[in-house]
């Protein structure tokens, strides 16, 4: 078991939490404390357990051992997820906003930040892969829960899309949201992340962070 913690106000506490599918262990027990307004990159080879770790952190996967505590709602998003195909971009963000309990004032800035304003009346099914990846950032911004877990958010993105992801992550951290990002891109964020996790064969084997307690 690897014990990990990093700084600020706690939004997520995994205590020796692991995951198994049947008899197969897909994530060995890990203890992880995530603080508000922090960013953490999660690296690892395909099939190493990054997605399982993120889904466990987001509360979508119940730990088969140990415990998970979160201070509030957590959101797991991968490119193209989070909206019905026949919804418009605006409807998709509006759903996320209303379910999160935020006021209408959040909608416009989120559309702007994800550069989705010109697409607001377009149906999700008509968006390109890159535009759908930007939609995920828009949803994260309008929901702004305690924790956002982004799974390969840079997939399908051009340079402009990448800068939208970077700005979006910065904005999320600025409003206090903790952001966990699974990615192969070690330079995904323009700013230095608060922590890096390396997942290998279902185990968190390495960490580099600026605020270990």
């Amino acid at each position: 078991m690897v014990a990990i913690s990093y700084d600020a106000t706690l939004v997520l506490d995994l205590a020796a939490a692991g995951a198994r599918f049947g008899s197969r262990t897909v994530l060995h027990p890990v203890s992880l404390r995530v603080q508000r307004a922090t960013t953490c990159l999660v690296h690892g080879a395909n099939g190493s357990g990054k997605t399982t770790l993120l889904r466990l952190c987001a509360g979508l996967l119940s730990p088969t051992g140990g415990e998970r505590w979160a201070s509030g709602p957590s959101l797991y998003l991968r490119p193209g997820s989070g909206a019905r195909r026949r919804q418009t971009v605006e409807e998709a963000l509006e759903t996320a906003r209303t379910l999160s309990g935020h006021g209408r004032a959040r909608l416009g800035p989120a559309l702007e930040a994800a550069m989705l304003s010109p697409l607001r009346k377009r149906r999700v099914e008509t968006l390109s892969s890159g535009q759908r990846s930007r939609l995920v950032i828009g949803i994260a911004l309008v929901a702004a829960p305690a924790l956002v877990c982004l799974d390969e958010p840079s997939a399908h993105l051009d340079d402009e899309g990448l800068s939208i992801v970077r700005a979006g992550v910065r904005q999320l951290a600025a409003v206090g949201t903790a952001v966990l990002i699974a990615t192969h891109d070690r330079d995904l964020l323009a700013d230095r992340p608060d922590a890096r996790l390396l997942v290998s064969d279902g185990a968190v084997t390495d960490i580099g962070c600026s605020g270990v307690r």
Binding site: S62, L75, G82, R84, R85, E91, S100
Partner: protein, 212 residues
């Protein structure tokens, strides 16, 4: 917060239905075909045909609930939208929102079928029969929501149909009898009990159904 989430989920589902027209393309033709075939195939005198119409309509509405159940989970999974709902909506709000939108669609289906049954089978609908349908639909929709969440992604329509028809039996019997027999009050009480059992059971088990 609970009711805001319920309202958001209902509006979202109805907007998606307005855009896809999946239910519109499935349910009215099924009910129309069922009533037409019964009228032609049963070869009953008009009075008897009118008498079996309430039960027949309930059977068709319950059958139509099978494709509608796709909207609970299967369609959400297909669009990769289910995780967002699980993450942001309280389990009770998710259950209530999904059941409410199903309930509205099934009530519209029942109303459409009732009007058709008047035209095709000479059915008569006393006010208490309409009241019975309105009262029974929340319980039926709640059961359909639970079964849709359990079986939606496994693609077992035969099992889903069997469960929905079996769990809908009290609504079918009480709803039909309220339309054609004396002493409708007793049937309304049965429907109320059916609703309470369905809703309490669903509230108790639904959070566990959302876990992976």
């Amino acid at each position: 917060m609970f009711w805001r989430q319920v309202s958001a989920l209902v509006r979202r589902d109805l907007a998606v239905e307005a855009a896809t027209r999946e239910a519109l393309a499935t349910v009215p033709p099924l009910i129309l075909a069922g009533l037409l075939l019964a009228g032609i195939g049963f070869e009953l005198p008009p009075a008897e045909l009118a008498a079996v119409a309430p039960g027949l309509l309930w059977l068709l509405v319950l059958t139509a609930a099978v494709p509608l159940a796709r909207g609970v989970l299967a369609a959400e999974r297909d669009d990769d939208a289910w995780d967002l709902l699980r993450s942001l909506a309280q389990p009770a709000a998710l259950l209530t929102g999904k059941a409410t939108s199903l309930c509205l669609q099934m009530l519209i289906a029942w109303g459409f079928g009732a009007a058709l049954a008047v035209a095709l089978l000479g059915a008569r609908w006393p006010p208490v029969a309409v009241l019975a349908a309105v009262l029974a639909m929340p319980g039926v929709a709640t059961n359909v929501t639970v079964f849709g969440a359990v079986l939606g992604e496994h693609g077992r329509p035969a099992l889903l149909t069997t469960l929905i028809l079996t769990a809908g039996l009290p609504a079918l019997v009480a709803g039909s009898q309220a339309a054609v027999s004396e002493g409708a009050e007793a049937w309304l009480v049965l429907i109320a009990v059916y609703d309470v059992v369905a809703i309490v059971t669903a509230w108790a088990i639904f959070p566990a159904l959302l876990e992976e």
